[in-house]
């Protein structure tokens, strides 16, 4: 098989067919030789031995005729007999010559010689008989029998002998022909079987030579297709399949290297990601769509006094008993998008081992590539330190504003006392300067007071006394002090309250909010404006709103007005501290409600806030 390797596929196929052709040629040659042999054998029988037999038959017949005419011989019919006898005699000699030229068998030549001698003697004895003159036919016949008959018998005997020899040979030849035919049949069958077997062997080996590597290739291909990049085709040859195999192996090698590189890269990335996830300070939870924990990092588990292994598989509510968080998670899963939180809504107070911990959470839906939701990711950030800092800041602010109060008191006292006697002592320019001092100490007072309020609320230093209050009572209490202010600008204030609304809250703080909102509304509503106060129930909340048709708030500032010290630039110098709305926000938040504004510049603003129902 070794030389086959160097042949290409075409040559192999041709070689295979060539082999079958050669076998066919051999069969053809053998058949032909056998047929020729058989033909030759038949020829020999026909041509030589048959001629000898024919000759002896003719000779026998001729001499029998001759002898019969001799016995019939009489003086009366002498001329005709002599002619006929002469013909027979010639016929005999003619065939004798042929026989003598057709000696083929062993002993045939001797027999022919003896035949000729016997015939010569027969003729000599007939001559001797004719030279005598017999008187009677009987006498002649007696002589004939005595003198010629023995010679005739000799001739007959040798003729028969030649005939027998030839017949024996013919028989032998016939047998030989049969034998050759048999042999030929046998040989042909043998060669035929051998040829068929060889053809089968060649076909099988040829097809297997071609198919085996193809099968190997197919196996290797399907292995590679299934991700087994170690598959190789073990087929080394110079033919087309060999080239394909080596190219395939090359490709598989490259694929394998690429795959390994990819796996290594992916593994590395995975390890990095895993390391980041496990070592980050933020807590990360992955929930399935049934809200069971499928994955959690160390920080996440520790936040809730557990470890990742115990957490896995648990329902999120089992670990974190926070209905609010769970509602947000359900929302995220149902809506397929991260919820938008208002400030402070996504903060969770967690107490583990009597340590208060503030956790800020963010929710993200997790989708498969197909777009199917597979879960929700929760990210907890520990903001306790921020809360502490915030508290520290508020406390600092509180102390600072306290400390400012005493010098402010003596300052404002001094200025006020000065002013009491200024009228008679100072000129107008000096009075103006003094007035500036009066106004700005007023402003400073308001500022410090607001600052103190907000820092107290933020630091949790203000105690709220919650009770059930009627909305109507809050509004009537505050409205009271604005009646003159509104009348001055000819502003109408209308209350549209649903009857018997009750909220749970701190009366003085809520009055403070209403005062602030109403004072703003009057401040920013021009002459002859209108202010509407509304209170309605929405679910578990009461929504109170103060709407004016004043100057409104530019869109770009609307989400900033609740920030500390924020004042819309164009409304500066209106005497505000910039803290009123942020105090409102803090108070509303302390009640568990929200506050917001809807405003259209030039058309007016509506401030609304919600409070839990009482």
């Amino acid at each position: 098989m070794k030389p086959l390797i160097r042949l290409n596929l075409r040559e192999k196929i041709l070689l295979g067919f060539g082999m079958v052709m050669i076998i066919l040629l051999i069969i053809f040659a053998v058949s032909l030789t056998s047929l020729l042999k058989l033909g030759k054998a038949s020829d020999a029988i026909l041509k030589q031995n048959y001629m000898s037999i024919e000759a002896t038959n003719q000779m026998l017949d001729a001499i029998e005729q001759h002898y019969r005419m001799l016995s019939d011989f009489s003086p009366h019919n002498k001329p005709e007999n002599q002619k006929a006898m002469m013909d027979e005699q010639l016929r005999f000699e003619h065939w004798l010559i042929i026989e003598k030229g057709n000696i083929t068998e062993k002993g045939e030549a001797e027999s022919a010689l003896k035949l000729e001698q016997s015939y010569r003697q027969y003729l000599i004895n007939i001559q001797a008989l004719t030279e005598r003159n017999f008187t009677t036919i009987v006498e002649k016949n007696t002589h004939l029998i005595n003198l010629v008959r023995p010679q005739l018998n000799n001739v007959r005997y040798y003729c028969k002998q030649i005939m027998q020899v030839n017949q024996a040979t013919m028989f032998k030849s016939s047998n030989r022909a049969k034998l050759i035919a048999h042999k030929a049949t046998f040989t042909l069958i043998l060669i035929g079987i051998l040829g068929i077997m060889l053809a089968i062997i060649f076909s099988l080996s040829l097809s297997s030579i071609i198919v085996r590597p193809l099968k190997n290739m197919l196996d290797a291909l399907s292995k590679v297709a299934n991700g087994d990049y170690t598959a190789r085709i073990e087929y080394h040859s110079n033919d087309e399949l060999g080239i394909v195999s080596s190219e395939f192996n090359h490709m598989a090698q490259k694929l394998s290297e690429y795959h390994e590189m990819n796996i290594r890269t992916i593994l590395k990335e995975k390890q990095i990601n895993e390391a980041i996830l496990q070592n980050m300070d933020d807590g990360l939870f992955l929930l399935d769509t049934d809200y069971h924990i499928t994955n959690v990092n160390l920080s996440g588990a520790r936040f809730f006094g557990s470890d990742p292994a115990t957490c896995k598989g648990k329902h999120i509510l089992e670990l974190i008993r926070q209905e609010m968080l769970f509602e947000f998670i359900k929302d995220t899963a149902l809506q397929g998008k991260s919820p938008v939180f208002t400030e402070g809504q996504n903060i969770l107070v967690n107490e583990i081992n009597s340590n208060k911990q503030y956790l800020q959470f963010n929710l993200t839906p997790v989708f498969q590539q197909s777009g199917v939701l597979i879960g929700v990711m929760i990210l907890f950030t520990d903001i306790t330190h921020l809360k502490k800092l915030d508290k520290l800041k508020s406390e600092f602010l509180m102390i600072a504003s306290h400390e400012l109060k005493t010098p402010l008191t003596s300052m404002s006292m001094s200025i006020a006392l000065l002013k009491e006697t200024a009228e008679s002592k100072l000129d107008d320019a000096e009075k103006e300067l003094l007035q500036i001092a009066v106004e700005d100490t007023q402003r400073l007072k308001a500022l410090i007071s607001d600052l103190l309020d907000i820092s107290k609320i933020e630091a949790g230093k203000i105690d709220f006394s919650f009770e059930n209050i009627s909305v109507e009572s809050i509004i009537s209490k505050t409205l009271h002090s604005f009646i003159t202010m509104a009348q001055d600008k000819n502003i109408t204030i209308e209350s549209k309250l649903e009857p018997e609304l009750q909220v749970r809250g701190d009366f003085s703080k809520l009055a403070w909010i209403m005062t602030n909102l109403l004072s703003n509304a009057i401040k920013f509503t021009p002459q002859d404006g209108q202010i509407v106060i509304k209170a309605i129930q929405t679910g578990a909340y009461i929504q109170i709103s103060v709407a004016d048709n004043g100057i409104g708030i530019p869109y770009e500032f609307q989400n900033k007005i609740f920030d500390k010290f924020f004042q819309v630039a164009s409304y500066l110098n209106t005497g505000g501290t910039g803290l009123g709305l942020s105090i409102c926000k803090e108070i509303v938040r302390a009640h568990g409600g929200t506050i917001w504004v809807e405003s259209e510049p030039g058309k007016g603003s509506t401030f609304s806030f919600t409070l839990p129902i009482g």
């Binding site: 306290h402 400390e403 109060k405 005493t406 010098p407 402010l408 008191t409 003596s410 404002s412 006292m413 001094s414 006020a416 006392l417 009491e420 007072k445 410090i448 105690d463």
Partner: protein, 119 residues
Amino acid sequence: MHKILVVDDEKNIRLTVKRCLESPDMAIDDAINGEEALAKLTEQSYHLMLLDLKLPGIDGMDILKTVRNLYPDMRVVIISAHGSIQTAVEAMKEGAMDFLEKPFAPSDIRQVVQKVLTS
């Protein structure tokens, strides 16, 4: 003639309050801390004491308690920067007549003093 004692560790507060209340029928004295106030009280009696709650040494609230025991006739008004409902309520419980939160205006002081002295 009404005799008033202003107790505050801040010199300027003492000064402005004194100036503010100055009048022919008022005799105003001042003390820098609780100890001095108590010493002055042993020397003479006052009708009214304006008392700061936050003082070095003896705390304002303790002075309030002491003077209420020793001089039940003297009226006390608290003047404090640390105004909270809680401290105000506590001071009232201890017998203070009123609670003035800093910063106050001259009119506030005069009004309170007038009210307390005439009651």
